[in-house]
Symmetry: C2
Subunit: 125 residues, 2 copies
DNA sequence: GTAACCGGTTACCCAAGAGAAACTACTATG
DNA sequence: CATAGTAGTTTCTCTTGGGTAACCGGTTAC
């Protein structure tokens, strides 16, 4: 992590830049639901996903929050919203190519969550 | 991501487990400051970090929030708090071995934040 | 003695987050 | 004609997050 400069001093000037980059990420991806939604859509790229389906399958999310978060994700070009000209009208949500770039983030969170749960369970034994 | 079962159907039973794992992660690591603090301490493992230093160097954090978040991180064994028997008394905060396991998460967030910023800048041109 | 450092805590307050439930509008099914 | 499904929006409310500022006790340097 820490790098040594030519003169032997420690280089940490980029630390604040790192923290700023992380702040940027958290501003766009932070909150209770956005990463959950992105992960869900990433897992279902081959399925047609509409509003009610997400509401049913993402545990605990309300219609209001889902609606709000979907709008914000669409604004940031992470997901797409497509109205199908069927009757009744249906809407398809999908992850965009750009949205797929978030996959490493959700992946590390899933992995950490799994190992964290293991740790908690072991600490109880 | 999606796997195919022996019978040809798509296997997605583990999706909800993934989302549950992510929910676990977000419960422990979510919020405005926790990942920022962990990243900061990860970057400074070779330095002695005390309260005021963090307050000065983590942009925008207040003493109240820093105090609160540090307690929660300590409870979850992600950081350690050590009082030095100096005069005046000083306190050293450091990341634990377990806290280091969060590094992949902060790393992907930093990387995504950097590329996101590039994308925004390019979209303005 | 007084200003400034450390390591916080406490009180106050506002805004945002977030849930519940009702409601709109349309369509298809029984 | 009633029920249920799609796709949300609106209203109402409560809680939480989070910022400001004052404050505590102690120590050291001027």
């Amino acid at each position: 992590m820490a790098k040594i400069n030519d003169n032997g001093t420690l280089r940490e000037a980029n630390c604040s830049e790192e923290l700023m980059a992380m702040r940027d990420s958290l501003d766009v991806l932070g909150g209770k639901w956005k990463l959950m939604i992105l992960r869900f859509l990433t897992n279902r790229t081959h399925q047609i996903i509409n509003f009610k389906k997400m509401q049913r399958e993402i545990d605990g999310i309300s219609a209001k929050m889902l609606s709000k978060e979907l709008k914000e994700l669409e604004t940031n070009l992470l997901i797409s919203r497509t109205e199908q000209q069927t009757r009744p009208i249906t809407v398809v949500y999908a992850i965009t190519e750009y949205g797929k770039s978030v996959l490493p983030v959700t992946e590390t969170l899933v992995q950490w969550g799994l190992s964290h749960r293991e740790k908690i369970i072991e600490s109880i034994k």
